[in-house]
């Protein structure tokens, strides 16, 4: 890892905030993480512009984890989980929240150290806090992906997920990518010492998380649980599936994957209405998996083609 002078570190947003006598804000943490991972050579991306249930599903992670080409990226990804919406009434649960996502391929051997350094820069002092790597294997059946790793605990609070990808789309990851997911709201609540997500200091200048997102949680929950029209969703799901398959036939894995993500989100919306029976549920998940796996397979074919092309 590159050596950094103290001067450089003191320039991170979090440490500036601490120096100014206040706790790091939500956006200080985002800025600090981006700054930190940029210094580790990551491409700093912006959120993907379609609804996803987890930051992993950004093609910069799911697809880029496949193939041989090295890749380093970091980004914030809003995640939508319609079922988890609580009308803005639950202090810990949200239907829309942020994850900070880092992927390093191949994983450097000092990835744990790099990760811990990112926590130090946020202002978590390892001499004061109990940071632990607790076994937690990760699996996402809808994209045929799994990996081994840990939940990272800070004083008993899960602040990140740390995973070594073994398979994506049913294909072996070679080389292996290291993936880090920071739960931004939780991490901030921890750092700021607040008990309710809506009390998070967003910008350090008087705007709270509630100011920005509370109304959104209320309205989106109302939509998710009361006004979303299952017939329409089902129709759109079928259309997304059809569109994805057309794109797979045309060997266009990137747009195909977009439509797989759309199908996945539409299914999540239907699921939130509680009208999907367990059997149907399995069948919907299998259909999304086919689309995602198909996209992964097409992407691998594409990479192989490009490799052959380059050899000519």
């Amino acid at each position: 890892m590159e050596k950094q002078s103290n001067e450089n570190i003191s320039q991170t947003a979090c440490l500036r905030a601490i120096a100014a006598g206040r706790k790091p804000s939500f956006q200080d943490i985002i800025l600090t993480l981006s700054d930190y991972w940029a210094r580790q050579g990551c491409v700093i991306l912006q959120p993907y512009d379609t609804e996803v249930g987890a930051g992993t599903l950004h093609p910069a992670t799911t697809l880029r984890a496949l193939g041989e080409r090295p890749w380093k990226a970091a980004y914030v990804q809003p995640s939508r989980r319609p079922k988890d919406g609580r009308y803005g009434e639950n202090p810990n649960r949200l239907g829309h929240y942020y994850q900070y996502q880092v992927i390093l391929k191949p994983n450097p051997i000092n990835l744990q150290e790099l990760y811990l350094n990112s926590l130090y820069e946020i202002g978590i002092d390892p001499k004061l806090h109990d940071i632990r790597f607790v076994e937690d294997d990760w699996e996402n059946p809808t994209v045929g992906a799994w990996g081994l790793g840990w939940e990272v605990w800070c004083d008993g609070m899960e602040v990140s997920q740390f995973t070594y990808f073994q398979q994506v789309g049913g294909f072996d990851c070679k080389p292996v990518s290291g993936e880090l997911t920071y739960g931004l709201e939780r991490l901030t609540m921890y750092v700021q010492g607040v008990e309710n997500v809506y009390d998070i200091d967003f910008n350090g200048q008087g705007v709270t998380y509630g100011d920005v997102f509370h109304e959104n949680e209320v309205e989106q929950s109302t939509f998710n649980f009361e006004y979303s029209n299952v017939e329409i969703l089902e129709r759109w799901f079928k259309d997304a599936e059809t569109q994805c398959n057309i794109l797979l036939d045309a060997k266009l894995p990137l747009p195909a994957f977009d439509w797989a993500l759309k199908a996945s989100h539409l299914f999540n919306l239907m699921d939130a209405r509680g009208v999907v029976s367990p059997t149907e549920r399995q069948s919907f998940i299998a259909r999304v998996r086919d689309l995602a796996k198909g996209s992964a397979a097409a992407w691998i074919d594409k990479l192989e083609e490009q490799k052959q092309e380059a050899l000519k």
């Binding site: 191949p106 109990d130 940071i131 008993g156 070594y164």
Partner: protein
């Protein structure tokens, strides 16, 4: 004599895998050495979150050379045979072979082959890569660009034999003499020269490598804290085993929670602490109830004495308990009864149907069983109806371990009767061999109905346990039924509910159960030969037989019976006896045979009565009345009389004896 030191340093090894890994490592290295003729005594192995290691002392530097005599063909054998022997024994000409003489074989060639010994360090260098590559982790992974698999990425390996490097490399990881200490309280990378040096330096770098030491240290610190705060630890061996795998050097910290949380059911608090947070739970010595405290085992000796850690953990716990309170409050707004219909949407098993279907079946079954077990029919049906309803509550969704327990709380809240509320919890019982068996008739009816239904349903779709697999815990369900029936002395012949293959399955489980209880298998087999399906009667018979055989009456009767049946079997083998013979009193000549006949006749009526009453001890005493007449008969009467009528009559007498004893048990199965 030399020492071998090995340490594999990696990223954090899952706690649940550590102990086994330490044992596997010791076994695999010992086996590899044993294969090369080196006997290993007492390998020491250890495990901590980031390392497994071992040390073997008193190893030879070298294995001794092995001399082997290779025998070849006879002198004057055809040339191809001699050429073959030359090749096989590695000599260049047959002149190098000795000639030996054997009185039978004559002169033949012999070559003395000397295999030089190997250096132990080379044996290790060859064996270790393979041991590492084939290590039986429950789950392993690749990392970076390599193909090596380990539980988590390996960072370094120490391999020193007699202080010198055991040189090997796997997938870019080279053996060496360096390691690290505690992740946060270590001093970076350091070198070690031998085991003593290693122990010293690792300890200085704040790692306790011995998990037993860590466990003892955790318990010592907890003891101190409890003593100082008038608290009592609720012991939790499983949790201790786990947390000792999460710390290099334990620092035990006492945390505090808001007392208002103590309104929640204690099971909920304990599970939240234990499962979600890995905290130890405490009782207040003053109240004898849960204390508003918890114990966290930290890996860091914080500069503020652990205040921030205690505070942080308390906040996380508060959030968890607030969640639990939210579920508790929300769940109590809906009755269990109104949740039952939701079970229709939950698949119990694809081929069997929904949980709702299961509930409908067990309601009916519990109603049928109720009169047999002495339960009120309506209460039994009510308990069965509500038994699964807590599965669709928020709390059980969060803590599946609380199924049944929450059902009882919610049933009380709904105003159900105490019998029904308890039966909702107890219908899962007994959960394992150490769990208790319900005794309340309503609980019994619900527990039996649920378990019978599970067994019948899975057997009907062909999902039976196999030698290795029992994914639906059917053995446990059958054993549960057996224990409920036996402990409650229930007269419930299996044939009422199960037949054929499933009944045999039950009887097999009963046999296993009885063997575990200490009954010899020949005694068990002797009673099972009667093909009874009433478990209580079977077990009473076995108990009586077991006791009877311990008495001198029993022992002698058995010996006499064996002698008698041996004669009978020898004669039956000849094949001229036909079917069953009848004793003709006219043909009884000797006093001894008359006496035996009359003893058998006298016994007959008494035996029938005792068996009717299921007084097996008395029945066996009755049999023992024959003891003297049998010996008298065997000692003084020649069965194979020349007169065929007399011979057949005496054999019939022995058949009568066997027949009579078989009513009690098949004594032929018992080893004398």
């Amino acid at each position: 004599m030399a020492e071998f030191l090995l340490e594999i340093f990696s990223e954090e090894i899952p706690a649940r895998m550590q102990k086994r890994a330490m044992e596997d490592l010791a076994k695999m290295v010992s086996d590899a050495l044993a294969k090369n003729g080196i006997v290993v005594e007492n390998p020491k192995s250890w495990v901590a979150p980031r390392r497994i290691g071992l040390c073997i002392e008193n190893l030879p530097n070298q294995t001794p050379e092995v001399r082997e005599e290779k025998k070849g063909p006879k002198l004057g054998s055809p040339q191809p045979a001699i050429d073959g022997f030359i090749r096989a024994s590695g000599i260049s000409s047959i002149d190098e072979a000795r000639i030996e003489n054997d009185p039978k074989k004559g002169d033949f060639y012999v070559v003395d082959i000397v295999k030089p010994g190997s250096k132990t360090t080379e044996i290790l260098a060859n064996a270790l890569p393979q041991i590492i590559q084939s290590f039986p982790w429950p789950k392993s992974m690749r990392w970076g660009v390599g193909n090596l698999r380990w539980v988590r990425p390996i960072h370094s390996i120490i391999a020193l034999f007699d202080g010198a490097l055991v040189d090997f490399e796997i997938e870019g990881v080279k053996s060496g003499n360096k390691t690290e200490g505690h992740r946060f309280h270590g001093n970076g990378v350091f070198e070690v020269s031998n085991y003593a040096d290693y122990q010293n330096k690792v300890a200085n770098a704040n790692v306790m490598i011995d998990r037993e030491d860590r466990k003892a240290e955790i318990m010592r610190q907890i003891g101190d804290i409890c003593a100082a705060n008038n608290l009592e630890l609720i012991e939790d061996i499983g949790l201790l085993e786990e947390v000792c795998g999460l710390v290099d050097k334990p620092v035990v910290i006492l945390g505090q929670m808001d007392e208002s949380f103590l309104d929640l059911p204690p099971e909920v608090i304990r599970l939240t602490l234990r499962i979600n947070q890995k905290y130890f739970v405490l009782n207040s010595k003053t109240t004898g109830k849960l204390a508003p405290n918890f114990i966290v085992v930290s890996n860091v000796a914080a500069i503020d004495g652990g205040k921030a850690i205690a505070h942080g953990n308390a906040r996380v716990l508060a959030a968890r308990l607030n969640d639990a309170r939210y579920f508790w409050d929300l769940d109590r707004k809906t009755t269990l009864e109104s949740r039952v219909e939701k079970l229709d949407k939950i698949v119990f098993h694809q081929k069997i149907g929904s949980l709702g279907d299961k509930v409908k079946r067990i309601v009916e079954l519990a109603g049928e069983l109720a009169p047999i077990v002495g339960a009120d029919v309506e209460l039994a049906k009510r308990a069965a109806l509500l038994a699964k309803a807590d599965l669709v509550t928020e709390m059980v969704g969060e803590f599946p371990e609380l199924q049944g327990v929450m059902g009882r709380y919610y049933a009380n809240n709904d105003g159900e009767t105490q019998d029904v509320a308890n039966a909702i919890m107890e219908h899962y019982k007994p959960v394992g061999p150490s769990d208790y068996v319900p005794t309340n008739p309503v609980s019994i009816a619900a527990a039996l109905a649920d378990k019978f239904d599970t067994l019948v349903s899975f057997f009907a779709i062909g999902e039976k346990p196999t030698g290795s697999g029992d994914p639906y815990a059917l053995r446990r369900a059958a054993l549960g039924i057996i224990r409920i029936i036996l402990d409650n002395n229930l007269r419930l012949p299996l044939g009422i509910r199960v037949n054929g293959e499933l009944q045999s399955f039950f009887l097999d489980r009963l046999k296993v159960y009885l063997r575990d209880e200490g009954y010899a298998h020949d005694v068990i087999d002797a009673v099972f030969a009667n093909q009874d399906d009433d478990l209580v009667r079977i077990v009473n018979r076995i108990k009586a037989l077991f006791e009877f055989l311990k008495t001198s009456d029993g022992e002698n009767l058995l010996a006499g019976f064996k002698r008698a049946t041996n004669i009978l079997k020898a004669e039956e083998k000849k094949g001229d006896l036909g079917q069953i013979l009848v004793v003709n009193p006219q043909h009884l000549k000797e006093n001894a045979e008359k006496a035996l006949f009359s003893a058998l006749q006298q016994n007959d009526a008494i035996l029938t009565e005792k068996l009717q009453k299921e007084d097996f001890a008395c029945a066996m005493k009755t049999l023992a009345q024959c003891r003297a007449p049998i010996y008298d008969f065997l000692d003084n009467v020649l069965v194979n009389d020349n007169d065929q009528n007399i011979r057949l009559n005496r054999l019939a007498l022995l058949q009568n004896l066997r027949q009579q004893m078989r009513q009690v048990a098949d004594f032929e199965q018992i080893r004398g």
